[in-house]
């Protein structure tokens, strides 16, 4: 693997926006979909940019992830393929979510290119809007040292923060590079061609960066196995599971911000949730001593784990969007790891890998059926 060093005197965002400009100027990219700070300065949204001047103010690696990039891309390609070439600048988890959506035919990847960056994680959006300046500073520190306080718990355990197992075209390496420097790498053939056309020569050896990525991944993998083993006890049995989700107020925000949840009519919003008559509730309350309102809380969470667990990329949007700080994303990561292992499936790795529930082998899984 080879790449090119880019100067980042004005921070990562400045360096990447210069690259984006030269890609745009070379004419091989018609538009760029990239996070940009909103005018109030408090948060970021995705902007589909055609005017190269506007790339000056883009923020390819914002400190927070209030909008999951896959959702932005989903809106863009809702009616099928786009006719112009779009370069999407996203975190690796956002690229992976886009791939999962493409498998579910909710995103069309034709004429879509991806650029990702080594991602140290994101801060909690709610913390950020309260004090953007202080958190910007903190994030800069995290970027320099590749660790620091305030990262979302999911991000601390993310092993897909670089470009391995993420089907991107271009990648910006940041881990362990010299201060004020980054490396840009053409990962796919198309990516290499793009850089070539933009006059960015990729001939430098990047093995030093790769070693650093490996080190950082080992550390995160360690965090992950620790968290998972803790959850194994904390989430064992219905009593414990009930405690984990006890604060849930059934706002279903985790579902709405999840990039993979796409159904326009959600099973959990459908009418069978309210079809029970008062007598039925009384009967149930009689049997149990009392019943919880709002109801169907456990069904919602376990059901969502069933619906999404295989495709969960661990972006943490659910937990970030939860007003009650329920550790949704961590529970998902725990269950997701298990079911993904069962089917030997890595979500978002490749569009060639079918979603396990949409395919089958004739001779398999006999341990789950009655002989």
């Amino acid at each position: 693997m080879t790449g090119a060093t880019i100067q980042a005197k004005n921070g990562v965002n400045g360096a990447v926006s210069a690259v984006l400009k030269s890609l745009k100027d070379s004419g091989c990219v018609d538009a760029v979909l990239v996070p940009t700070r909103v005018k109030s300065g408090e948060t970021f949204v995705y902007l589909l940019i055609r005017n190269p001047k506007m790339l000056d103010s883009c923020a390819p690696l914002p400190p927070v992830m209030p909008v999951q990039g896959a959702r932005a891309l989903q809106s863009l390609t809702r009616h099928g393929k786009v006719e112009q070439t779009v370069l999407c600048v996203m975190r690796p988890c956002e690229v992976r979510a886009s791939i999962e959506l493409a498998k579910r035919r909710q995103v069309d990847l034709e004429n879509v290119l991806f650029m990702s960056l080594d991602c140290p994680g994101a801060l909690r959006t709610r913390d950020y809007v309260n004090d953007p300046e202080a958190l910007d500073k903190r994030y800069q520190g995290i970027l320099n040292n590749w660790e620091g306080d305030g990262l979302r718990p999911t991000c601390e355990t993310c092993v897909h923060f670089s470009c391995e197992d993420v089907p991107v075209d271009l990648h910006v390496g940041l881990v362990g590079t010299k201060e004020e420097e980054a490396v840009i790498i053409g990962v796919s053939k198309r990516g290499e061609e793009l850089l070539d056309k933009a006059g960015i020569e990729c001939s430098e050896d990047v093995s030093a960066w790769q070693v650093e990525v490996e080190k950082a991944r080992d550390k995160k993998a360690g965090n992950r196995s620790k968290v998972v083993s803790e959850l194994k006890d904390k989430a064992a049995g219905m009593d414990n599971l009930g405690l984990l989700f006890a604060d849930c107020i059934n706002c279903h925000n985790c579902m709405r911000v999840c990039p993979i949840c796409y159904c326009r009519q959600c099973f959990f919003d459908s009418s069978d949730q309210v079809r029970l008559r008062a007598e039925d509730y009384f009967a149930k309350a009689q049997a149990r001593g009392g019943i919880r309102f709002p109801g169907d809380m456990m069904q919602f969470h376990l059901g969502r784990i069933y619906h999404m667990g295989l495709s969960c990329v661990g972006c943490g949007a659910c937990e970030d969007g939860c007003p009650m700080d329920v550790p949704v994303s961590q529970v998902f990561a725990f269950a997701g790891d298990e079911v993904q292992k069962t089917f030997d499936y890595v979500p978002g790795r490749s569009t060639d890998e079918p979603i396990p529930t949409l395919t089958y082998e004739e001779d398999e899984l006999h341990e789950y059926e009655d002989a």
Binding site: A235, R288, Q299, G303, I305, E338, E362, Y368
Partner: protein, 142 residues
Amino acid sequence: MADKFEPNIVGFLCNWCSYAAADLAGSNKLEVPATLTTIRVMCSSRVDPVMLLSAYLRGADGVLVAGCHPGDCHYQTGNYLARRRFALMHKILETFGLDSNRFRLSWISASEGKRFSEVTNEFAEHITKLGPNPLRKMPFIE
């Protein structure tokens, strides 16, 4: 009156095989657990496992899914997909240490009335040994 536990079992039966088998069991006067509630579905793959979960969380003691034997699906591949989905749900239940043994997937063809009676009775016996669904007594869960 002695409180003998009779398990409430919800059975999702595929229209083309297992539901017909249930019918045949009836015509042949074979015994089937009286507390089996059957739900006819057009295919075992019509059953979103969330429905199984729903039955369990709402207090069913056992949940059965039955369809055509692999290779015999009326829609060619439905039961293969159902098996994957069932396995996925099973895995999730196991992961959280929940009662995955209260769920069963069986293949019963339209001509197997006897097998339908055997499978349901055997399953009811198995659930009787497990006892009632503990969730029936948990006020904060559903």
